[in-house]
């Protein structure tokens, strides 16, 4: 009745694919991926659900496949969300230390975290994440753990990610409709960065750009914590659309061309080259100018990078990026995309792959799966945190609840 090993499931509902990853925490406490399920996604545009029924079908198929591979029954998932409505900003909470000897204790830390969560949001917005950055004791910045220090004033700096409640609930509802519980809603960009970044990169400062089909998410890590997050509702679909329009080919054909001949930079040597497209389904044979193809694609990708760069420049985040930029997501497969990004950001760029998780097969080591693997990693962290808090004896009720949840 009680599972021996807790199961963590990450579910990514993306614009091009729906992916479910099942993992277990083995006896040594390490994360091990046991099953993966995928299905093409039909009801999602720009990261948001537009056809709940179609999405429901696709999710079911993906979950069933994952369950089959992992040989477990999936009850609850960590759901990854994205969409242009998601915004991130930094917030501070303040708390005066009340104890007589000015020593900062656990309760003070909890209080200040509570204060930092008191955010003035528009009514229809809902907080997705509150990520602790660091603390400030009496004006001294950069304190990781203030417990035990002396001070009169404790401040906590957090990064808050929030989004439109209704849109978030759309995704949650669809999942719940499949008799699955949503343990937590996770921002896709955050999940991707958990999967592809090493702690060293997080310390030095890195920008992670997840180039998906519907959206492009970006997260800045510096000094080990999240400094900035954002979503741009432009993705691989836009590139295909541009190509379909510019080369005057149907959308499906444009996707194929993008995958087979696309590139992020235009080579001078390409002038005049063209590709012959075989006539099929009664369409006459057509030839497509390769240089145009590359140029259209390059312009769109360059614009995406430029928009991100402008946003980061405005938020004054560019100085933090000592370890450069990491690209992941399906769009990271584009040839020469590193070169283009490097040109726009003037920083070293590499393509990141999910790692540091056991049981991961080579098929999962692609940048496309960064989000799904990241969701599982996030789930594992949460699980560990819950375990610690239950071990501390606080909230025995919730510990009991967890027992039941795991077992039943």
């Amino acid at each position: 009745m009680f599972d021996s090993n807790p199961i963590i499931v990450g579910l990514e509902v993306g614009t091009s694919k729906i992916c479910a990853v099942v993992a277990e925490i083995n006896d040594a406490g390490l994360l091990n991926i046991t099953g993966v399920g995928q299905h093409a996604s039909h009801g999602v545009r720009k990261g948001e659900i537009v056809d709940p029924q179609a999405v429901s079908e696709d999710i079911r198929n993906a979950i069933v496949e994952a369950e089959g591979m992992a040989d477990v029954e999936v009850r609850s998932v960590f759901l990854g969300v994205s969409g242009s409505h998601l915004r991130g900003f930094n917030n501070r909470g303040v708390h005066p230390v009340v104890s007589a000897d000015r020593e900062i204790g656990d309760e003070d830390v909890q209080d200040v975290m509570k204060n930092s969560k008191a955010i003035n949001l528009p009514a229809e917005n809902h907080v997705v994440h509150v990520m602790r950055q660091d603390f400030c004791v009496d004006g001294q910045d950069g304190i990781q753990n203030p417990v035990g220090m002396l001070g009169a004033r404790l401040e906590a700096k957090v990064h808050v990610v929030h989004g439109n409640f209704n849109r978030l609930q759309n995704a949650v509802r669809v999942v719940k409709g499949l008799q699955l519980d949503v343990e937590e809603v996770v921002f896709n960009g955050l999940a991707s960065s958990l999967a592809v970044l090493s702690s060293e990169q997080k310390e030095l400062g890195t920008l992670v750009i997840d180039m998906g089909a519907g959206t492009t998410e970006y997260v800045v890590y510096a000094d080990g914590v999240v400094r900035h997050t954002g979503v741009l509702a432009v993705g691989g679909d836009h590139v295909s659309n541009d190509l379909a329009y510019g080369l005057r080919v149907p959308l499906g054909r444009a996707e194929q061309l993008k995958l087979s001949h696309g590139s992020a930079v235009v080579d001078e040597a390409l002038k005049g080259q063209s590709i012959r497209l075989g006539g099929d389904h009664g369409l006459p044979e057509k030839s497509v100018n390769l240089e145009h193809l590359r140029r259209i694609m390059s312009m769109r990708l360059e614009e995406v990078f430029e928009l991100i760069e402008q946003e980061l420049d405005r938020a004054e985040m560019l100085d933090y990026l000592r370890a450069g930029v990491v690209l992941c997501g399906g769009g990271a497969h584009t040839p020469e995309v590193e070169r283009l990004a490097s040109k726009v950001f003037r920083l070293p760029v590499r393509v990141g792959k999910p790692g540091a998780v056991g049981g991961i097969t080579t098929s999962l080591e692609l940048p496309d799966f960064a989000t799904s693997v990241g969701l599982v990693k996030f789930g594992a962290f949460q699980h560990r945190k819950n375990q610690h808090s239950s071990m501390r004896g606080r909230g025995w009720r919730s510990a009991l609840g967890q027992l039941f949840r795991r077992g039943a």
Partner: protein
């Protein structure tokens, strides 16, 4: 000063000046008449522009400052100051409402007529977007026109950061002014921002704007009042601008030294009006005035004209040149271009039609103007002195029925201005909400938005 003498000389040597005052009903001895110019500043921005202009020591030009805001009438220069709509607004401003500005100006129409009487050329300077300038300038223009002057509007449009409401009000005001005045020169404040860097003070930016306007007006005044080696007289000026009812472009540049031709050409093309030559391409009449020193050569003139011709096609060009002995080794060029192409075929009464059509269409958009009837009445009341088509000039309904063809033509012309150049199907994104970033729809292919041609 110099100017005074040249004014008289201009009057004597150019009987054409009197002819240029055509349309003016009262004067009868054209030969001895000297050009009377008036600069009218309407509203706060207009007043500032006039102040900047007055500081340049132009002789023979009368200055008038009009405002609804009593406090906005003060200033150092000696000008006729008049408070518009004193009864209505009781010394307070127009509150950013062009309707109030218009009504205030209408209320004092007799005084306006008095102020404009006897002028040959009236410059109306205003900042569009607010209340007094936007609403009052077209009224003043109308009155000045009725008094027989050539009316030139020199206006600014708001910064982007002032919001769309003000932009729309400004656009409406400019249209109104265009319908009434002979020519309108429009300087968008945004363009001035491009000339300065981010750290310049606010006063600095406004000073630069006023300077640009003042320089333009000044050079026109000087050009018309000095005698020249190749003289451009008022008649030529009129033929370039009169009756165009369109936007004109004004650019001035001056430079000294060896490379003055190259510098001047650069500055003209880069000036916020000319916009890199685009404005010139559409022009069909061009007035270029040179002021040089004793060493001004034909070669210099040729080179400047060559560069200008590169941008404009088959425009009717008037060239004027004056020698100013104090300008040795220096050169100043003023360029005025107007495109009257839009109204080429339609007759004089049509401008009233066009504006009304414009208003009708815009009534669909939320303009925020409560009384649409107000502005319409002012345009129907306006009939050009040449005697337009009275039948089509009165009554909204008859206009529609009788001048149906013209209205449709005018409507089509108005509409054409509003549609985007290329209607891009959104393909895959037809059914999803557009991704908007700073007003740009990112769903439209990037290469189209950036205008990259694929041949």
């Amino acid at each position: 000063m110099d100017d005074n003498q040249s004014m008289n000389v201009g009057g004597e040597s150019n009987p054409g000046v009197g002819a240029g005052g055509s349309g003016e009903e009262a004067k009868s001895t054209p030969a001895l008449k000297s050009l009377r110019m008036t600069v009218v500043g309407v509203g706060g921005a207009g007043r500032n522009a006039v102040e900047a202009l007055a500081g340049r020591g132009l002789e023979g030009v009368g200055f008038v400052v009009l405002n609804t805001d009593a406090m906005g009438l003060g200033g150092e220069l000696s000008a006729t100051r008049f408070q518009l709509g004193a009864q209505m607004t009781r010394g307070l401003g127009a509150g950013g409402d062009p309707e109030v500005g218009r009504a205030a100006a209408e209320a004092d129409v007799t005084k306006l007529r008095e102020l404009c009487q006897g002028s040959d050329l009236v410059f109306i300077m205003a900042g569009m977007g607010g209340g007094t300038g936007t609403g009052g300038a077209p009224v003043v223009a109308r009155v000045a026109k009725e008094a027989g002057a050539l009316v030139l509007g020199v206006v600014t449009t708001p910064f982007g950061c002032e919001g769309t409401r003000r932009q729309r009000q400004a656009a409406w005001g400019v249209e109104q002014l265009k319908a009434v005045a002979d020519a309108v020169i429009c300087l968008p404040n945004e363009k001035v921002l491009k000339l300065v860097d981010d750290r310049s003070g606010v006063m600095e930016v406004f000073r630069i704007t006023n300077d640009i306007l003042a320089e333009g007006v000044c050079s026109i005044c000087r050009m018309l009042s000095r005698p020249g080696v190749m003289h451009v007289d008022f008649a030529d000026f009129c033929s370039v601008l009169r009756g165009r009812h369109a936007e004109s472009l004004l650019a001035t540049a001056r430079a000294r030294g060896e490379n003055r031709v190259a510098e001047i050409v650069d500055r003209l093309i880069m000036s916020p009006f000319v916009n890199g030559g685009q404005g010139l391409g559409e022009a069909d009449a061009l007035l270029v005035s040179f002021v040089g020193g004793a060493d001004f050569s034909m070669g210099e003139l040729n080179r400047v004209m060559d560069s200008i011709h590169k941008h404009c096609g088959s425009a009717h060009v008037f060239i004027g040149a004056t020698i100013d002995p104090t300008m040795t080794d220096g050169l100043a060029v003023t360029l005025i271009a107007s495109k009257g192409g839009r109204l080429g075929v339609v007759t004089e009464s049509a401008p009233a039609n066009r504006v009304e059509a414009g208003l009708k269409i815009d009534a669909g958009l939320d303009f925020g103007l409560d009384k649409q009837n107000g502005p319409m009445k002012s345009t129907t009341r306006f009939l050009p002195p040449e005697g337009g088509d009275i039948a089509s000039g009165t009554g909204g309904s008859t206009k529609e029925a009788g001048a149906g063809g013209k209205l449709r033509q005018a409507v089509r012309r108005m509409r054409q201005g509003m549609l985007p150049l290329e209607v891009v199907s959104r393909g895959r994104f037809e059914k999803s909400e557009p991704t908007l970033h700073k007003g740009e729809d990112l769903d439209i292919p990037t290469y189209i938005r950036r205008g990259v041609p694929l041949n």
